[in-house]
């Protein structure tokens, strides 16, 4: 009996904790976003983070997308060959990459790279009084640190996903033509016929949402970190884990919103 009650209490505490965190993150995001509407704007900071996300994540995201497209072609060939439906391979590759795998895999890779880096940098600034120093130097830390990162994440990820889409399809195309013996023109025709603008657009919208979430969780976890190097380490882990879970959960919600 007590065991059952304890379980209920634990469940209740967990849910309340989650709700409180959700409330705090929402307020944090709202404050940061409000700074995007009020000058001064820290363009230099924005450019630095945009380059960090868009340009320096390019190799990671490109390789991920390329191999994913290649594996996709190979796997679906194994499956579809049984039903003599090899021609569907191009459509499988192009739809799964643009709608799902491009944004989700790019999001997860960037969460590991950028979310962690943001949490570590802001967390270190927090525990070494640098954030407090900003306020004594006539600079609002939310405006200087958080707002440019959120904007950079939101704008950079769609760009990355566009590249991921192209390379993913190219990976499928290469395997299809070089290994599975498709005629290049047929593969491309199949892919082009099935592709709707909405497939790409939905993927890019997802990317923008994921980019925002990655930057938000990185900034928030870093901002709230306490207690030296260990605290910063925990903040980094928390930023990556929470961003990854949110990406997968939001992916479901966005897919449901777009395609049902």
């Amino acid at each position: 009996m007590t065991a059952a009650l304890n379980l209920v209490a634990l469940l209740g505490r967990t849910v309340l904790g989650l709700l409180r965190a959700l409330g705090q993150v929402s307020l944090f995001a709202a404050e940061a976003l409000s700074h995007l509407l009020r000058p001064p704007f820290f363009l230099r900071q924005f450019v630095r983070h945009f380059a960090e996300i868009a340009y320096f994540s390019l190799p990671v995201v490109a390789l991920t997308a390329l191999f994913t497209g290649m594996v996709l072609a190979l796997q679906s060939y194994v499956g579809f060959a049984r039903f003599n439906a090899e021609s569907a391979i191009a459509s499988v590759v192009v739809l799964s990459v643009t709608r799902e795998l491009g944004p989700v895999l790019a999001g997860l890779m960037v969460a590991g790279r950028i979310g962690a880096a943001m949490a570590a940098e802001i967390g270190t600034m927090r525990v070494t009084d640098q954030i407090d120093a900003l306020t004594t130097l006539s600079t609002d830390p939310m405006k200087y640190l958080v707002a440019p990162r959120l904007l950079a994440g939101t704008l950079a990820l769609p760009l990355l996903v566009l590249v991921a889409d192209i390379l993913g399809v190219m990976g499928g195309f290469l395997v299809g033509v070089l290994k599975l013996g498709f005629v290049p023109q047929t593969f491309l025709d199949n892919a082009w016929d099935i592709l709707q603008p909405m497939d790409v657009i939905s993927g890019l919208v997802k990317a923008a949402v994921f980019g925002f979430v990655i930057a938000l969780m990185g900034c928030w976890c870093g901002y709230a970190s306490r207690g030296g190097a260990q605290g910063v380490g925990q903040a980094t882990t928390r930023a990556v884990v929470s961003a990854s879970i949110l990406i997968l959960a939001l992916d479901y919600l966005l897919t449901a919103a777009f395609f049902s």
């Binding site: 001064p40 600034m125 004594t136 130097l137």
Partner: protein
């Protein structure tokens, strides 16, 4: 002394968890005067300063700057006070993603008082005041020694010519000669710019040099205030023990044997 004090603290209390760090701090700093605050390690000196700056919110008590209760000020009015305030953090708190010159000119750049083109020269001047070469400006804070970081932080704190300045252990980690130079610089800021200063220090020679008044904090309260030049022979057993660094006296270190 004329008019209301520049900084006035009354009944400041702050606890972290079960630990009562500040237990009713009362302190006045008159306009244009330099106050040094003494006290054992962990006695709440840095916390007091952070409360005045609004970085830490006290549990109880009143903080007035120029007669205004800061807790009742709007965000903009508080920011306006911070615009005129300088702070040297105990650990420097330099921005490690920016080169030294940008650190030094950060506030001037934020307030658009210098352009980025001029900032390097302005920084070089400020660095010269703390005994650093202009070439240091191009380095990143991580490439500096501890004492150099402290001096850069000091240059940053006073570069915008604030009229209220807080120094948290300005000379800790510096050699004696450089310590004296920095003390001179602090006195300069107060005397020539007419600023009001509150400094925390463990160095008695430095306390006598930079302080007009001195205050001693112990167990979360101010236990003594008086003229800084009398430190060491104040007649207050606690202060004299602290100032002369004696092991025996009313202050007992909580050591276990």
């Amino acid at each position: 002394m004329s008019g209301s004090p520049r900084i006035r603290l009354r009944g400041l209390r702050k606890a972290f968890g079960a630990k009562q760090v500040l237990d009713g701090v009362d302190l006045d700093v008159a306009t244009g005067r330099s106050m040094v605050v003494l006290g054992g390690s962990g006695s709440g000196k840095s916390v007091t300063v952070k409360c005045i700056l609004g970085i830490i919110t006290p549990d109880e008590g009143v903080i007035e700057i120029d007669g205004q209760d800061v807790a009742k000020l709007s965000r903009a009015d508080r920011a306006a006070i911070l615009d005129r305030t300088g702070m040297l953090f105990q650990n420097g708190a330099l921005f490690d993603s920016l080169p030294v010159w940008e650190n030094v000119c950060f506030k001037l750049l934020a307030q658009k008082r210098v352009s980025r083109a001029q900032a390097r020269d302005v920084a070089a001047e400020a660095l010269a005041q703390v005994g650093l070469a202009a070439t240091v400006g191009e380095l990143s804070p991580a490439e500096l020694s501890g004492g150099m970081q402290k001096r850069v932080a000091l240059a940053r704190a006073i570069a915008a010519r604030p009229d209220i300045i807080f120094f948290d252990e300005p000379t800790t980690g510096l050699d004696p000669i450089m310590g004296a130079v920095i003390d001179g610089l602090i006195v300069d800021c107060v005397k020539r710019l007419g600023a009001t200063a509150l400094s925390i220090t463990h160095d008695m020679a430095s306390a006598r040099r930079i302080g007009d008044e001195a205050a001693m904090i112990h167990k979360g309260r101010i236990v003594w205030t008086g003229p800084a030049e009398t430190l060491g022979r104040t007649g207050n057993a606690m202060v004299d023990q602290f100032a002369n660094g004696e092991r025996e006296g009313p202050i007992r270190m909580e050591l276990r044997r």
